[in-house]
């Protein structure tokens, strides 16, 4: 990144090749919509290209990159939300955020109850999609990118206490949404 800041174009192209898969996966998890993933992955790198000179080496490059990904995905998710009717089962959380709560079926056989791997993936993807954007981004960074609360707080520009709360709420919402499909050991 520093080489690219100094005008080394090849360094930027190397950066693209190294990070495309990571950014693609991240955008996919944030958006859950394969249609937009490629375009947005490209846009992330073009944004990096355009704003390279504002990058300060004191920030980790990955954190800076994640922040660009998160900002772009926030925009897409918000514009999507504006055009989407609110589900009747969408309820307001204590913090004013809304999330989808699956009605627990006590007669269900439990986890994976008859679900094959593909169906289970679909159920999980839908549960994640129902999370408020900041919870979704926090859980993806925590669970799939192994980011610490400190790093997540830098990406989301909030305190580590807020991250702690976001992740707890995200887990609680996922527990409610997936409760009928998964069985505690």
């Amino acid at each position: 990144m520093l080489r690219f800041q100094d005008g080394d174009r090849e360094a930027f192209e190397e950066l693209i090749r190294r990070n495309t898969h990571k950014v693609h996966a991240l955008v996919y998890r944030f958006l859950g919509d394969p249609q937009q993933v490629e375009d947005l992955t490209q846009e992330v790198f073009l944004r990096v290209y355009r704003t390279v000179r504002s990058y300060k080496p004191r920030a980790k490059f990955s954190t800076w990159l994640y922040r660009i990904v998160a900002n772009l995905c926030f925009n897409v998710l918000r514009s999507r939300k504006k055009g989407r009717p609110v589900s009747l089962e969408t309820i307001a959380g204590e913090d004013g955020e809304s999330y989808h709560r699956e009605v627990e079926d006590e007669h269900s056989d439990g986890p994976g109850a008859g679900l094959d791997e593909q169906e289970l993936q679909q159920v999980i993807a839908e549960a994640i999609e129902q999370l408020p954007e900041n919870q979704r981004i926090a859980i993806v960074l925590n669970k799939f990118e192994n980011k610490s609360y400190e790093e997540i707080s830098e990406v989301l520009r909030c305190s580590t206490m807020a991250v702690k709360s976001l992740l707890s709420r995200a887990r609680g919402n996922l527990r409610d949404a997936l409760g009928r499909y998964i069985r505690p050991d």
């Binding site: 930027f12 693209i16 790198f45 290209y49 791997e117 993936q121 859980i139 609360y149 702690k164 998964i182």
Partner: protein
């Protein structure tokens, strides 16, 4: 009988403990609860099962050639924006507006020579709203200089006269 539930604060601590983000006393307290309290044990099992379920969520890998397409797209881009230029873009318009304002303030007082103070007979023509209305500061000055006159001037009893003067001023041949 309903199961005892953890409070939101306790859930946050449990979640952070699972992520190994608690240290010292807080971590010890949660570890103790998890060892001894059935409600904490039950909640831990539920949250762990959520975490395990998330492991099933795989994503397709990026299509072949995507990286190269992005490289090509980046080659079509103009050079990266200079932070200095973008800074200038934001600062120039307000700075220009401020400069124009400053010049106006400096040049304004010299643009027209100061008029001599009008006498009491001219006061009625200085009514606010008339076509020859002087700026508010000049009106204040006029009033201050003719305070004796204004103290005794009875606007109500002279209303007809003032309105007639006003009508004359508004007419095409008013002045």
């Amino acid at each position: 009988m309903t199961e005892p539930q953890l409070t939101q604060h306790e859930l946050e601590d449990l979640s952070a403990w699972m992520d190994r983000e608690l240290t010292g006393e807080s971590a010890d307290r949660v570890a103790h609860k998890v060892r001894t309290d059935p409600a904490w044990q039950r909640e831990l099992r539920r949250l762990e099962s959520v975490d395990r379920a998330l492991d099933h969520w795989t994503v397709p890998s990026a299509p072949d050639g995507l990286a190269e397409r992005i490289v090509q797209a980046s080659r079509r881009q103009r050079g990266p924006a200079s932070p200095v230029l973008s800074w200038v873009r934001w600062v120039v318009p307000p700075a220009a507006a401020a400069a124009v304002l400053l010049v106006g303030m400096l040049v304004g007082p010299f643009a027209a020579p100061p008029k001599p103070s009008p006498g009491p007979s001219q006061v009625s023509s200085a009514r606010p709203g008339s076509p020859s209305q002087p700026p508010p500061a000049a009106v204040d000055k006029l009033v201050a200089e003719n305070l004796d006159f204004f103290e005794q001037y009875d606007v109500v009893s002279n209303l007809d006269l003032l309105e007639a003067i006003g009508r004359q001023e508004r007419s095409p041949q008013g002045s």
